[in-house]
Subunit: 485 residues, 2 copies
């Protein structure tokens, strides 16, 4: 039906800022892949593949990853507290350890019922437990009053950008390539994205000269740059920033008076190097040079969706604020109040993530065994995929460093670019679409994350089990190159 059909709303009169937003992770290719999946489920036999591999999104439990037993046992009791009346059955017949029951009791005491709203910023006892985790992790105190529970990190980013951006001149420095949540949210808010490129030659690390140049250019154009987003470890790239890079960003934020948004959701997905939190580094610098860094405002985000937990569907997360004005925090509280509170079972899941079984506790052995198996499995799959990329003509990819993704460069022949243009697509979109049609593997074109002019990439997760799908990509690539060379 035509868009100007007499309806009140049409594509030309709805919110133009929503229309301008782009979100390729769940865009055309993802929709098409779901159609293939439905067709296969309905018995389609005319497709050249037997399964769809959703490598477009970090969704571990959709693929192969099993949830961690301790976590799900506790959650099952939270959903049905009547089970606690049959503790002996749980322990003797269902394999629940006593610490599972204890934790469930503690969390129920903290939230009352998972069916009740919590305070808008999250259940106080859970925020207390997060603060203790942060203290253990960083070696510096954390205050539960500065912690806000959110429905995944995405909702936390949405909150923070809503507060920071006052009008269309408000700018936020965003790394490119990036997770498109940032650009999409800034579009919706009608604020200004100030892109800065990561350095592919240095494992996609931050390059301060590049950041500074992007900042200067934006300022010269009249943009009121207010904040800088750092994704560490990186998405889509997996790189963990070394201490000197973090220090440099904090120093830059001080000089230029920028709020730091540290997206640290991949903090446990680290194969190479070490995760260092911005909070720890900031506190360290404040200690080294008293007074110098007191005015820095930092928001750091975490989530249950990634790491070895991988519980995306539960929409759990939090952010911690450092150095924010109390009056601004009151506005953040009011803003999150409008949506009432983060899902309470997701809040409990955050508590289980930050406070897992300790050595010597009954559930510890199984927990650590499952945790390590997931970690090692991810590393192995990343390595196998990387190895496959090394065989592929015109494909270059750094050694897997962490997160859940690889982001190879692809060099495609001019004939492919021409064929893409004929379809009104960018060459990377064209390549990824052909890959989906040939193999059932759904990846995201680099243009969905941003890439330097003249370069092409795609992002794939390394979550899918088995090697068959990797082989199918290698085969597809060869045929594609042969066709368009």
């Amino acid at each position: 039906m035509a868009s100007n059909s007499g309806r009140r709303l049409n594509i030309d009169n709805i919110n133009p800022h929503v229309r301008a937003a782009k979100y390729a992770v769940r865009g055309e290719l993802a929709v098409k892949s779901e159609e293939y999946r439905a067709a296969l489920q309905n018995g389609a036999t005319d497709l050249p593949f037997k399964q769809v591999i959703s490598a477009n999104i970090g969704n571990p439990q959709q693929l192969d990853q099993k949830p961690i037993t301790f976590i799900r046992q506790v959650l099952s009791i939270l959903e049905n507290p009547a089970l606690l009346e049959k503790g002996d059955v749980l322990v003797n017949h269902l394999g629940y350890k006593p610490d599972v029951l204890e934790r469930a009791k503690k969390l129920l005491a903290a939230v009352g019922s998972v069916g009740a709203y919590s305070p808008s910023n999250g259940a106080p006892a859970i925020r207390q437990s997060i603060a203790e985790f942060l203290e253990r992790r960083d070696g510096f105190p954390a205050n539960p009053a500065d912690i806000y529970m959110s429905a995944g990190a995405s909702s936390g980013v949405n909150t923070l950008l809503h507060i920071i951006c006052a009008d269309e001149k408000s700018g936020v420095l965003v790394p490119i390539p990036q997770y498109p949540l940032y650009t999409a949210s800034l579009s919706v808010l009608n604020a200004t994205c100030v892109p800065y490129y990561l350095d592919e030659q240095k494992n996609w690390g931050t390059d301060l000269a590049t950041i500074r140049a992007a900042h200067e250019k934006a300022k010269a154009e009249g943009v009121d740059v207010r904040a800088i987003v750092i994704i560490n470890p990186g998405n889509p790239t997996g790189a963990s920033l070394p201490e000197e890079d973090i220090r440099a960003v904090i120093e830059f934020a001080r000089q230029e008076r920028l709020v730091i948004l540290a997206d640290e959701v991949y903090q446990t997905n680290v194969f190479i190097g070490e995760f260092i939190s911005f909070k720890r580094m900031l506190r360290q610098m404040q200690k080294e040079q008293p007074g110098t860094y007191d005015n820095i405002e930092l928001a750091s985000l975490h989530s249950v969706s990634k790491g070895m937990i991988g519980e995306c569907g539960h929409r759990g997360g939090y952010f911690e604020l450092v150095g924010f004005d109390p009056l601004v925090q009151a506005e953040i509280y009011k803003f999150v109040s409008i949506m009432l509170c983060a899902p309470v079972i997701g809040q409990c899941l955050v508590e289980l993530m930050v406070n897992p079984p300790k050595p010597g506790e009954p559930s510890y052995d199984l927990y650590i065994q499952e945790y390590n198996a997931i970690f090692n499995g991810l590393h192995e799959r990343a390595t196998a995929l990387h190895k496959a990329f090394e065989q592929m003509e015109g494909v270059e990819c750094g050694v897997p460093q962490g997160s859940m993704y690889l982001f190879p460069t692809i060099k495609l022949p001019p004939k492919a670019a021409k064929a893409a243009a004929a379809e009104g697509r960018t060459p990377d979109e064209f390549y990824c679409l052909r890959m989906l049609e040939a193999t059932g593997v759904c990846v995201v074109p680099g243009s969905g994350f941003g890439q330097k002019e003249g370069t092409l990439h795609f992002r794939t997760t390394f979550l899918a089990p088995g090697t068959e799908w990797v082989g199918s990509i290698v085969k597809f690539h060869k045929e594609f190159m042969d066709k368009y060379r």
Copy 2:
């Protein structure tokens, strides 16, 4: 610390639209009541009450309401599917009926894992089940492709207002008194709220002449009025609209080309009258006069937070679109994609709400017994509270009709208004604050929902058990009136 302390963000430079938003349901009084609650938990003995009653928000499970057994048993299995391997233990030792296990299997087949992201608009099989519920409820077909799962109805409202409002001239007709989600969201979006008053003399029903006048006035002021919000049954008032009022609103929407947003989250909380959905009425009118109502766009919202389910903490809900342009729906899909998906366990809860055990199924008897007990308990509490209001000087309140609230008028002496003004408060705020301090009962001043100039109200839920708290309100009111008369 002062607001202009050298920080980048202060109360004067953050997003002014967030700052302008008001959300009294979780405002100053709610925060103060939580402080009292914490003080009591820490053993405070200097307060004139022993417990805090949060009558400010419809949060049944925070107070007394037990979750429905069938629902929570299924959810416990969804959280820990390994329990299905011990089906005999569940049935023989834990009292799970076979239909609980069956439903859990069905939902697990629908979502894979509750820890995995679903498609952005919700799991297809759950949307199918909702469509079947809507067909049973309304007697007209529903299409799963037009159903969008949301994190409670609030997030659905947020989505729809984001699409509808293009700029600051975009206006939405909102009933007064109203649930402040609407005014707050419109503030954040910097769009225009066009208030229309409900008719207190007619049980807070819609009065078309009033709506029309508000609309004309807004149009004359250059507002591009695009939609009308109807809360049916009403919040804070509980009234169910009769068929003729719904027809009148639909006819008005046709004449004035307005999208209808039907907030129907209290559809089962009806003591007097009958719930009639806008969808049913619209389809009926389309059938009666073919062609006339084809261009009406309707979005109707529902939630697991209210009704006899009362599972607010799970943040589950959906909205159904009727008559929307496919291109506009594609933008809605993209918008919800940015936040990935509604909590998957909450999606499953929606399915359990719309498709409860049927007569003859093993879980039915207990289900219907629990359901009716909650319904009757709410009705009894509402009646008891209403009776108390009848005894109170200067308090007037219609017979309870539904939802979870009463919204009495209060007439306060001039001396009270003067004392309020001296504190920089409205008289109703002043009254509610004194009530909280004297009784520990937290209600919301009428000004938080909007009220006609010169009238005063407060909103209270009737969810709290027992009669002591009601007695304490009566006693407080007498003392307040004696003091300020």
